[in-house]
């Protein structure tokens, strides 16, 4: 064989082999898909979400944790869970509520009428904004059950403040922020007397004494805390205020709040009622009228009234009366489809979309029309409290039939495109609110509540992804007893292409109501703490135990793989203050601190000093140890706390 022929044969062999290996590889992918029952569509969905090790997500989602009282953080598109932020309830891993004074203080802030509350029903997170865009500095979240709002610092992803509403007995339309985070809004839900006293539930009392309201919590951006002294409430009728949104751009300075019981029905259905008997159930009585009211509040004017002292304090909360608000032309009502649930202001601030819930339509209101009527004091009527009521027909831009049970709406990057969850239909509607046209519907799993798009409630939505927040996944995951996990479904909403369901993520923590999705590069969390920023920072070599009467102060350090000191002896009844500084620099060198029997546990992150306070009220020998695997000799990172 000539050299040329040999070369030709060799090249042919290589070509055949490479073709064979390519086929083999393609076949391999095919065989995996076949074995696992995956379609081409599934493989595309996997490719759109799979995030290889070491790669990070484009977006982070902050989701309410429902009855857990926590806030959940996960990444998109990977849907990888990143953190549970402890907010209203104790959380042992983070040492929140287990003797460490910061967490204990935070939870104490949340006590209501002297009662320790160890659960919360978180509903709506709100990321702080600048000019209507998320700024990545803070996130706020409400507790519907025990009317409270928390501030979480996104530098540390820790709860830094809990404020309790002293006049509400429940809430719902919260947390919502105004476009520059001037205020965090909290709307009442179930009407009740402002004062903490018994008022018999009669129709007359309900109408006259029971009240709703909207609290405007002033946020001090410099301090990163809500300023109680500059916060106020606007008195509202007992209409069961619901979802709220803040105006932006042309509607800046206004807020919009739905309501679900303008009938002011007070119940009494079924056997066993001690007062009211043989009446319709709430669900029927509260749906009697064809329309309910959107509360339109000029908070800028309310702020002026507050600054002028036009308020009365109840339980320490300044309350501006409906009468004063009406006199200032700062409070009006707008009829909306009965028992609505969504209330979303468009990115340009001009339109407010309200979904009917019991109606198949979504209504697009035009703020320009609303404002013109308000400015002209052109009102159709007044309600029972003397609040002006606008003519609904004069304010509507479009009404669009979307399907059964429309709830919440989020915005796309594409002009006019929005997405609305359809609870009864179990689908997501993509439609154009400017043209009033339904484009397509995507069936989702089951029981959708809220939905979110990337930065979808800001002035600059990103589009790209949508997450359907479905409740109780009955058939999507392995059965784990009668209580099912929730199901967040990731959907690709790339412009001009049909929506595609990409991924199901179970959330086994509580019912997450609302969430917000922020670009990950807007967040700048701390990597480690600055040691010197802590008042009780313990320098290595300066560890000591000090006694003053019955007070014992322990100054400790923690470093791989020892505490210093390791053996501490006190007397029964001593008041213990125990400072521990983690003197590590490496960002993953977290040390835990667990003390047997005393219910003490803390997480001491690199550079951090934590302080525990407790009384040594049990005599005995109590080992303490590092609860976070920190090094090869982690088990040896221990000591004894002896109480004689």
């Amino acid at each position: 064989m000539s050299k040329r022929a040999t070369l030709k044969t060799f090249l042919s062999l290589i070509t055949v082999l490479s073709l064979f290996s390519t086929t083999l590889f393609a076949e391999s992918l095919k065989s995996i898909a076949k074995r696992r029952g995956l379609s081409d569509k599934d493989l595309i969905a996997a490719a759109k979400t799979y995030t290889p090790t070491g790669k990070k997500d484009e977006y982070l989602v902050f989701s309410s944790g429902g009855q857990s009282g926590h806030l959940i953080v996960y990444g998109v598109p990977s849907m990888r869970l990143l953190k549970y932020i402890a907010v209203f309830t104790p959380e042992p891993w983070q040492g929140y509520g287990y003797g460490e004074i910061e967490g204990m203080h935070r939870l104490k802030e949340g006590e209501i009428r002297g009662r320790k509350i160890t659960w919360g029903d978180t509903h709506h997170p709100a990321l702080s904004e600048t000019k209507g865009d998320y700024n990545g500095d803070y996130v706020f979240i409400n507790d519907k059950a025990n009317p409270r709002v928390a501030v979480i610092d996104l530098n540390t992803f820790e709860t830094v403040q809990i404020v309790k509403n002293p006049i509400f007995k429940s809430e719902h339309g919260s947390a919502v922020v105004t476009p520059n985070t001037e205020y965090v809004l909290e709307g009442a839900q179930y009407p009740a007397p402002y004062e903490n006293k018994y008022v018999a539930l009669t129709q007359e009392n309900f109408n006259k004494v029971y009240r709703g309201g909207m609290t405007y919590w002033k946020f001090d951006k410099k301090k990163g805390r809500i300023d109680l002294k500059r916060s106020f409430t606007v008195e509202l009728p007992p209409y069961m205020q619901d979802i709220t949104d803040a105006g932006k751009s042309i509607s800046y300075g206004w807020s919009f709040t739905n309501s679900v019981n303008t009938e002011r029905y007070i119940g009494g259905y079924g056997n066993g009622n001690t007062k009211l008997k043989n009446r319709l159930a709430n669900e029927a009585g509260m749906s009697e009228k064809d329309t309910d009211y959107m509360h339109i509040i000029n908070w800028k004017k309310a702020e002026e009234l507050f600054k002028k002292g036009k308020f009365k304090k109840t339980n320490g909360m300044p309350v501006i009366s409906m009468k004063d608000m009406v006199a200032a032309n700062a409070l009006v009502l707008l009829p909306e489809s009965k028992s609505p649930h969504g209330c979303s202001v468009s990115p340009d601030g001009r339109y407010i979309i309200v979904a009917g819930k019991l109606d198949t339509h979504a209504t697009v209101f035009d703020f320009k029309k609303i404002k013109a009527l308000i400015d002209a004091k052109n009102y159709a009527s007044k309600d029972a409290y003397g609040i002006p009521v606008l003519d609904m027909k004069k304010t509507i831009h479009k009404q669009v039939q979307l399907g059964l049970g429309p709830l919440h709406t989020q915005f796309d990057k594409e002009k006019g495109i929005v997405y609305t969850s359809l609870y009864v239909d179990s689908s997501v509607a993509r439609w154009n609110y400017l043209e009033g046209k339904l484009i397509e519907k995507l069936p989702i799993h089951y029981n959708i509540g809220h939905l979110i798009t990337a930065e979808g409630d800001t002035v600059n939505p990103d589009g790209k992804y949508l997450i359907a927040l479905n409740k109780l996944a009955i058939d999507r995951f392995n059965q784990v007893g009668p209580l099912h996990p929730q199901n967040h479904q990731l959907i690709d909403i790339t412009a001009k292409k049909p929506m595609q369901l990409l991924y199901d993520m179970p959330l086994p923590l509580g019912e997450p109501h609302y969430a917000q999705m922020i670009k990950a590069d807007k967040l700048h969390p701390k990597i480690r703490y600055k040691k010197k920023s802590f008042k009780h920072y313990v320098r290595p070599g300066q560890e000591k135990v000090e006694r003053s009467g019955k007070s014992v102060t322990i100054h400790s350090t923690a470093i791989r793989s020892h505490y210093s000191p390791e053996v501490i002896e006190v007397r029964k009844g001593d008041q213990i203050t125990w400072h521990i500084t983690n003197v590590e620099r490496a960002q993953d060198q977290v040390h835990g601190f667990g003390l047997d029997t005393y219910n003490i546990h803390g997480s001491i992150e690199p550079g951090e000093t934590v302080t525990f306070e407790f009384v040594a009220d049990k005599r005995g020998v109590f080992p303490f140890y590092c609860t976070e695997f920190c090094s090869a000799l982690h088990l040896e990172m221990t000591g004894y706390f002896l109480v004689k």
Binding site: R585, A586, S631, A632
Partner: protein, 174 residues
């Protein structure tokens, strides 16, 4: 580097097994001290290898900081280069973007690896006082204390080695 890791593993295993056997016999602390000294010297040798491998990947050649013949000097020089005129806490105050820019200016080639390596060097520094105490006790023939401090020195060296390997993984993109 796989060989380096294997050597470290073998060193650690031998050190642990020595401790295990020690409990079953009458303890000769002098022998244990001498043996631990050897382990520590060998571990320092390994760490020197890691430094020589990682240093040029963390800081620009133009700084002339990395010197094969002086790995400890390289490590300390690297720390100075990383910090500039500030201290490590100052790096916490600036954003990731600013930090990247600052490190670029300081000719640091890999931010995450640099932070891990900084920590490794900090652990390394902590072994010195322990070895000094060990030597002092040995001079007084207090072999038990000499051994114990030599053991403590080893603890720091191990932590240094594990961090160093972590830094190596980062610069190699593993």
């Amino acid at each position: 580097m796989k060989i380096l890791k294997t050597i470290i593993f073998v060193l650690l295993m031998s050190a642990y097994s020595t401790l295990g056997w020690a409990n079953t016999e009458k303890i000769d602390y002098k022998a244990k001290y001498v043996e631990k000294q050897k382990v520590n010297n060998d571990t320092i040798g390994i760490i020197a290898g890691v430094i020589n491998y990682v240093c040029p990947k963390l800081v620009s050649k133009s700084t002339k900081i990395c010197k094969v013949k002086d790995p400890v000097g390289s490590a300390v020089g690297f720390q100075k280069q990383l910090l500039g005129k500030g201290d490590i806490d100052d790096l916490d105050d600036i954003s990731d973007k600013e930090l990247k820019a600052a490190l670029k200016k300081r000719k640091i080639l890999h931010k995450e690896g640099a932070m891990q390596f900084y920590d490794a060097v900090e652990q390394f520094k902590m072994h010195y006082p322990e070895r000094k105490l060990a030597t002092d006790f040995a001079a007084k023939k207090k072999w038990r204390q000499a051994f114990q401090h030599e053991e403590m020195a080893w603890q720091f060296l191990v932590k240094c080695a594990s961090r160093g390997i972590f830094a190596k993984k980062m610069v190699d993109g593993e």
